[in-house]
Subunit: 352 residues, 2 copies
């Protein structure tokens, strides 16, 4: 057991209005999370016509390697190439017409920026994207492809926030945070609604963790629908703030993340941390070498062009750190979260 007995009982009593005890079992008072099954179900209805229902794939070769049954939820096949579009779409569609007209704004170098740009284009409103000048080219290209209006800034949080504040002041655009926002958490939670319908027998879901928007949404939805399901976070050992925070019992931000998984360098927020604290069984950390090896398996066996961050769930289930959590016959869901990866080396080789 993982000390979440109280939470599970509470969930069973009140599935549509999720209120659970803190995970330590000491009932210091009820806590309402930033999202619940109701808000996630509403998000699904709101975004249904705009998103892809992503397929689930399986591989007997990878099952043999992991010594359990794996089900891969292909969020890299989501519009914009990552699950991020679910939350961005929910946030943009939640705005009133008056607010939406002024546009939306975010500061991000990654998949969230492209997702916001795409969602804004669909609604016909401008998207202002503040991008650090060291952002990966392929992700910057995605923002441009979807018509995002880019403002460059220095690659520091301070510069990003200051630049975003300036753009906000000039335009009146609505800021959409990449994870610490109830609309985002609810949108990302729709992954779990689909996944549990597609694979009835899931025992465990392994989810990449960075700011915690995806895993919070998935945990809130999945635990409400299937209280015994285990939610496991997969995190790079070079950016292990969630593992440290779980161990300490409070948020410990990551000051100098060092990992190839460029999508997993953020730290938890005050809206995602309580969910991670209470509903995530464990944080499994994996080294970059294992992330790369897992990404190679995704390309070579699954034929899916995943980005390193997106392959971390497979890395986790294959690592020794996961052996106590799964056994033969365990049905493990893995969220392949994104596929925006720079492939220039491959194209250069193909030109030869």
């Amino acid at each position: 057991m993982d000390g979440q007995g109280d939470a599970i009982c509470q969930l069973e009593e009140s599935m549509s209005n999720l209120e659970v005890m803190p995970g330590d079992g000491r009932s210091a008072g009820k806590k309402q999370y930033a999202a619940d099954l109701g808000s996630i179900t509403e998000a699904r209805e709101r975004i249904a016509a705009y998103i892809h229902t992503t397929p689930v794939v399986t591989s007997s070769s990878l099952d043999a390697l992991a010594e359990c049954n794996l089900f891969f939820k292909c969020e890299l096949l989501q519009k914009g190439g990552a699950f991020k579009f679910r939350g961005a779409c929910n946030a943009v569609l939640s705005l009133s017409d008056d607010d939406a007209r002024k546009g939306v704004l975010t500061h991000s170098s990654g998949n969230h920026a492209a997702a916001v740009a795409l969602a804004a284009r669909m609604r016909g409103v401008p998207a202002y994207i503040v991008v650090p000048n060291n952002a990966p080219t392929c992700k910057l290209n995605n923002v441009k492809r979807y018509g995002g209006r880019i403002t460059m800034c220095e690659p520091t949080l301070e510069s990003r926030e200051r630049t975003a504040a300036l753009v906000e002041e000039e335009t009146g655009a609505a800021l959409i945070h990449p994870f610490n926002d109830p609309r985002i958490i609810s949108g990302q939670g729709t992954v779990a609604l689909e996944f549990l319908e597609q694979v009835l027998q899931l025992d465990v879901i392994i989810v990449p963790i960075s700011g915690g928007g995806l895993i919070s949404g998935i945990a809130l939805a999945a635990k409400a629908l299937k209280p015994n399901i285990k939610i496991i976070a997969a995190e790079p050992s070079g950016a292990d703030d969630a593992a440290q925070s779980k161990a300490a019992g409070h948020i410990i931000p990551m000051m100098r993340p060092n990992t190839i998984a460029d999508g997993l360098r953020a730290s938890l927020g005050d809206l995602t941390w309580p969910v991670v604290r209470d509903l995530v069984s464990e944080v499994v950390t994996v080294d970059d070498d294992d992330i790369i090896a897992a990404a190679k398996l995704c390309f070579e066996v699954l034929k899916l062009a995943v980005e390193p961050s997106g392959a971390i769930g497979l890395a986790a289930v294959l690592s020794k750190n996961c052996k106590h959590l799964v056994s033969a016959g365990t049905n493990v869901g893995i969220v392949l979260s994104g596929g925006n990866v720079d492939l220039e080396a491959l194209w250069a080789a193909w030109k030869k």
Copy 2:
């Protein structure tokens, strides 16, 4: 119209026992093809428990580029990484126990070899694979992964056939030709049964052509179920034997294929040619540069790790040679046929 009126009428009259006129309209006599809707439906029942039902994905970005509606049938997500497993599985499962016991045999450097090895392993019988000594490493590795017993030979058809004959004599194994075999054509035809169920509104299916096993099976199934559907072949201009054969009205083999699409270098066989002659509307040829550009789009936009041969359908629909065949609103199915591609350049870059 493409001169197939007679064939279509005949198909409507007799859908389950397919007999059609030659496509030139002169009724020189009826011709029974190597497969029909009945044999394809039987194949589907035979292989259903062993294959993946592959997903269909869409992309509004690629729709905009192609100026029509595209539906991608992801056969690269089939077991073994290509549609080839459907036919191989059907052939291996069609053998009597006595015949199967002696094993199966093929000579191939590509996806068919891996598919035969995998199907044989599933049935618990040996697979003898004759492989030319210049075969791509990643495809050879797939054969090994599935337990195929490899005999190397010189990279000439003569050496392949002589070596295979020796192995056949020694072992009594049953030869399974990669395309010129009714069991193979029927197995590959199951792609169309699935595809037409998944996308009811298909007007056109674009299929890569090499030896013609895949397109023959698809054409026989699809035309039987939906007589007005158009089947278009996509072929590298450096291996354009099907285009030349269609123009000449008889098989013209390809002596020196020169294309990056290593899966599309074979020439039509006497069982596949009549189907291509009669039921394929047109052969669209594309240059290697366009094949590479299409494969890049598959990786970058669809997030699918396709091999160049597998991307040729997208290359075709984007080329000027296809403009007279599709228009805005046309629903075009594209078979992404395989994903066994050498990615060493990418792995080398990731290690930096």
